[in-house]
Symmetry: C2
Subunit: 235 residues, 2 copies
C-alpha cells in the first residue's frame, strides 16, 4: 500500500508561487511591518516577487478570505483595519474555540510534540530577551497555531489561523500600553498543563490567557467605525 493514494508529487503546501506571495505578505502583516490601511498595489507586489498580476491577485483574494486584507472595488487592496466590534467578536470566538483545542491537544501529547512545544517556548524567550518585537509578535501567534496543529483538528486549525491573523492586527491597533509581549509565561503554563494531560487546567489557563490579552486592549463601546483620524488628532 502506498502511503498516499494521491501522488501529489511536489507541492507539500507552498512550492507554487502564489503561496510564496501569500505567505510573504502574511508574514509581513503578522510581524507588523505592514500597518493597517497600507495600500497593497498589485504591480508593486508583483515586481517584488517577480510574478504577474494574475498571481498577485489570487494571493490577495485568499488573504481577503483570511480577514487580513480588504479589497475595495476599483480602489485596490489594503491591509485590513479591524473595528472594535470585530475585535470583540474575534476574541469571543477564540475564547470559545481555543479551550476546546487545548483539550484535544492533551489527548495528542507525545514526546515529539512536547519537544516542539519546548523548543518554541525557548524561541519565544530568546526573542523577548533580544528585544525583537517583531519576532515576539509572530512567535506568540505561532504558539497558538502550534497547539491547534497538535489537536489534529483541521477545521479548528483553519478557523484559528484566521483568528490569529486578525488578532495580530487588533493588538497592533488597540493595545493600551506598549505591551512588551503577551505573557510568555502564560504559554509555559499551558504547556505544563498539556504535559500533565490536565485538561481542566489547560482549558482554564488558555481561557484566562485570552481574557488577559483582551483586557490589555482599548475597545471603546460605541460602534465607532473608521474614526481613527479624528481620534488620534483629538488627543
Amino acid at each position: 500500500m502506498a502511503a498516499k493514494t494521491r501522488p501529489k508529487p511536489d507541492t507539500p503546501d507552498a512550492s507554487d508561487r502564489v503561496s510564496r506571495i501569500r505567505e510573504g505578505v502574511t508574514a509581513a502583516i503578522l510581524e507588523h511591518r505592514l500597518l493597517p490601511g497600507t495600500k497593497l498595489g498589485e504591480d508593486e507586489i508583483g515586481e517584488i516577487y517577480g510574478a504577474s498580476r494574475t498571481l498577485v491577485r489570487t494571493a490577495l483574494q485568499q488573504l481577503v478570505h483570511e480577514g487580513i486584507v480588504s479589497i475595495e472595488k476599483n480602489r485596490g487592496a489594503f491591509v485590513a483595519r479591524p473595528t472594535p466590534a470585530d475585535a470583540r467578536e474575534v476574541f469571543e470566538a477564540r475564547r470559545l474555540i481555543e479551550p476546546t483545542i487545548v483539550d484535544h491537544a492533551c489527548d495528542a501529547v507525545s514526546p515529539a510534540w512536547l519537544d516542539r512545544l519546548r523548543r518554541h517556548l525557548a524561541e519565544e524567550r530568546e526573542a523577548e530577551l533580544r528585544g525583537d518585537a517583531r519576532a515576539s509578535v509572530r512567535l506568540s501567534g505561532e504558539f497558538h497555531r502550534l497547539v491547534a496543529e497538535m489537536s489534529g483538528h483541521s477545521i479548528y486549525l483553519g478557523f484559528l489561523k484566521e483568528l490569529i491573523a486578525r488578532s495580530s492586527l487588533i493588538i497592533l491597533l488597540y493595545r493600551r500600553h506598549d505591551t512588551p509581549a503577551c505573557g510568555t509565561d502564560h504559554h509555559a503554563g499551558i504547556v505544563a498543563a498539556i504535559r500533565k494531560r490536565d485538561k481542566a487546567a489547560a482549558r482554564e489557563q488558555m481561557l484566562s490567557h485570552l481574557t488577559e490579552i483582551e483586557a490589555e486592549l482599548f475597545l471603546k463601546d460605541p460602534a465607532a467605525d473608521e474614526m481613527r483620524l479624528a481620534d488620534v488628532l483629538g488627543a
Copy 2:
C-alpha cells in the same frame, strides 16, 4: 454626518458577476444537484453564466476556501468529497459553535426576527409536504444560517456558512437511510426556545438536534481516506 463614511454606492453583496457565479454553483451543490466528485470545467461554467474564465476561476477559488470545491493542480476543480474524518470534525465544530450562536440569538430576539423565523418554518413545512427534497435540503441549512445571522456575530456566521455547506455534502454522502429531512420539528422547537428567550433550552435543543443528525450518518471509524472506490466495489 453621513450615515456611511465610505460611499459604497451599489453592490450590497452580490451585484458583481463573480458573486452570481459563486452563489449559483453553491446553490447547485447545496441542493444536491451537483454531486461530489463532479468536474467543474471552467469553460463549461463560464458559458453558462456568460462570463470569462477569469471570473469563473475567482468564484471557484472562493468555493475552495469554503470547503465545498477542491482544486487539483493541473486537473481542475471538482465538487469536494469530505472524508468521514472531515465529517466528524465538521459536526464537532458545529456542536461547539451553534449552541453559542442560539444563545446570542436569544438576546437578539425581536418581532421582526420571529416573523422571519416563522416564515422560514412555514417554507420548510411546505417543501417537505410537497416532497421537494432539493428545497428541503437547502432550507434546512438556511435555517441554521438564519439563526447565525440573528446572532449578529459576523465571525460565527462566516464559520457556520462554511460548516453548513460542508454538512450538506456530508449528509449526501454518508446518510444511512434516505432520511426524508432532518427534523423540521426540531427547528420549530428551537424557535420556540428562542421566542421564550430560554437560553438553556435553546442550547440544549440545538445540541441534541445536531447530535441526532450526526447519528443518522454512517461514519466508519478507520481513517479511511479516499478509499471510496474499493469500498463500493468490495461490497
